[in-house]
């Protein structure tokens, strides 16, 4: 303790570091360390007393059909769900921000999907989309033919719907927080300049939201992995091949105690995502300057 103070006299400790330190210690222990350990497993042949095998796991994995199928589906799903989810939730956040009446109530309604217990949620989606479910009942009563939702390529769209339904509120909260941080004076200034609604959006709103856009983009990617939980609960560990995700592969590997394959798959995923995150941050920084 004493040394800390005396040292501080000689060479000033960065105050930022002091604020950061408690959090960083925890992150190191509970996140960074497990992260590094699990990456280490990717280079071994067995979770317990494993031997170092170099890149063998990676080579094997790239020849693994189920893995490649899962990777393809996951990337496709991210490509569709993240932009769509972000645009929709931004639109809803803007609408709620604008609307004069019952702001809180509307915002609350969109958060409801986040608090429904997963058991009930799965129960509802099943009641809607099973072969003898509600939606097919409506279709048949309209004189159309029922669709086997979960066992045709339609499954992807059902999952997309579930994802958007579940996560719209999440992004909306983040966008609302961001929108409120844009000082009203900016808007007033734009109004004085006679800027139109669309122009204000592109010149004031969007630039003000950049940090939050980066955040929601990254969180959407994470949440698009998490949607696996619902797919899994609805369709089991081996669903129709159009919705066989990377998470299915990982989950199944976990169940087969094939931990090294699981972490190898994660390694590759992390690599891909690092590229994405880096691009997003670069975009943010360039915008900042």
């Amino acid at each position: 303790m004493n040394r800390l103070f005396t040292n501080a006299g000689k060479r000033k400790i960065d105050p930022g570091l002091l604020f950061l330190l408690p959090g960083f210690a925890g992150v190191l222990l509970f996140y960074l360390w497990p992260f590094l350990v699990s990456l280490w497993y990717a280079f071994t042949d067995n979770p317990i007393k494993g031997n170092f095998v170099g890149l063998a796991n990676f080579i094997e994995l790239l020849h693994n059909k189920p893995y490649l199928l899962g990777l393809k589906n996951t990337l496709m799903f991210i490509g569709m769900s993240v932009p769509l989810g972000m645009i929709l939730s931004l639109a809803v956040a803007m609408l709620i921000h604008r609307t004069g009446r019952r702001k809180e109530l509307f915002a609350l309604v969109f958060l409801i999907p986040l608090v429904i217990p997963s058991g009930s949620m799965v129960f509802f989606w099943k009641a809607l989309f099973l072969n003898d479910g509600y939606v097919n009942g409506v279709l048949v009563s309209l004189g159309l033919e029922g669709i086997n939702w979960f066992e045709t390529p339609m499954a992807m769209y059902v999952i997309l719907l579930i994802f958007i339904w579940k996560n719209l509120g999440y992004n909306m909260v983040l966008f609302l927080a961001g929108l409120h941080n844009i000082p009203k004076e900016y808007y007033e200034a734009a109004a004085v300049d006679g800027s139109s609604g669309v122009l204000t959006f592109f010149h004031v709103t969007l630039p003000g939201l950049v940090p939050m856009l980066v955040l929601t983009a990254i969180m959407s990617v994470i949440n698009s992995f998490k949607v696996f939980k619902e797919i899994y609960l609805i369709t089991g560990s081996y669903p129709h091949e159009s919705i066989y995700m990377l998470q299915h592969f990982m989950n199944n590997m976990f169940f087969s105690l094939n931990y090294q394959k699981l972490t190898t798959a994660t390694c590759i995923l992390v690599l891909l995502i690092t590229v994405l995150v880096q691009t997003l941050f670069r975009f943010e920084r360039r915008h900042d300057q």
Binding site: I48, K65, P66, G236, Y238, F254, F255, N258
Partner: protein
Amino acid sequence: MKRRMALACSFALILSLAGCGQTKEASVEQILNEELSGEITVSCYDTLISKDFLEKAAKSFEEKNPGTKINVEAFGKMPEIKTSEGSNCKIAIATKEDDSQERTNYINKINTELMSGGGADVLSMDILPYYKYADSGLLEDMNAYMDADSSFDIGNYRENIIRAMEYHGGQYLLPLDYIFHYIAYDSSLFSDEEKIRLESGKAKITYEEIFDIAKDAFERKNANSAERVSMIGAFTNYMMLDEMMAPGYETYIDMENRQVNLMDGRFAALLESVRNYGELGYLQQSLELNHLDMNDIKKQREDQFFYKTKNQLSLTSEVLREAGLNNGKLNFGFGSAVGGDDSNDKALGPLTDGNKNAPFDYLQAYGINANSSNKALAWAFVKYLMSEEIQSDPQLMLVGLPINNAARIEQAETTITRSFLEESPGEGSVEDGELTETEKRTIDRYIEVVENFSDSLNYHPVQDDTVNNMIRSEVSHFFDGSKSAAEVAGVLQEKIELYLNE
């Protein structure tokens, strides 16, 4: 400077982690010579049979071996919630689904613990995929223990059952009991000539064959009778398929060698014949298990079937009937959970693949964690679970047949004398402790039948829940007519291959 410190720190961490897995391997001989002490944990999923059994066995083991402690861990089952429904209401939703979620959670938990190098010392293999654990080297091969331990003589146990559960030459799990199906026929429905045919083919019973023998009898009976008599009481097509696949399971799906072979036409033919049996009226499928009420049960008990697939528990009633006793006990077994009229039943023998495989199953079996830090105690406890003392303890009565030979004979005596006592209370043997002649004869006959049937059991293929679920859901498309047998076989071949190659 700062950076170097951080580097040193993380090195220290890595070393400490690497260090924790590097305990020196002790040989089995060394383990067996260790003094029994300390504590172990036994983990099971099932709270219905295993938990109670294990807790009682653990208590008596601790009393016998002071200084040891056996912790029994059952997966935290959620509290049962009952609603106060009206007296006539029936809730008609199957509980299968939430069950599978709970199983998943349990396996998840065990996997995490095992892969972290920890976990329970003794694992009950009630729902765990033991072959995956064996593949990953997480289970101890108990062959070495059985050979090296002089107090363990495999001759005291049903060796054919134990050996049939080997996996890639290793004994990764030891069963406490075994169960099996056998076929019985209703002798009042067959002509003498047909009975001779049945009795002569006793050793190798397949459904195809016995259905063929009963073809004429079936038509005879159902031509001039208003009440239809089914061949067998299968509830669903899928159950029938499952039963017919069982004796030759590995020729379709060989989990041990990760092979699947559904494309050579045999599987499609099997599907076709099950459907054919349904169309011919062989299978009795009207009964919904979910909707059973007292009337259904009563009616079921009067129903006649040409054949019944029973399980080993029903062997007692078979023998008691021969001895002139009909204690009206229910039959247990596939398709006859509530009985059917068994007054003319004659047992044929265990189901086979027509060649040499006769399948069986177990209710309780245990394996030892290869990472256990107290293998001596773990082995001693598993051995104790298989001992005569535990296996014949009436309080711990195993549901299946005891694996221990002496215990099996004791169990036979208890079961038969109890049945006699129930039949004619007061007259039994309990007062003077001596068995009557009839009782002795019946016991001997029962033991003869059980041992005879048990001798032929030799087939316990590795089965996988996921694969079986895939088959179950896919064949439903065949039975509801939306897909052809060949299509179903094709889809399954692909799906299961994907799973096995994952």
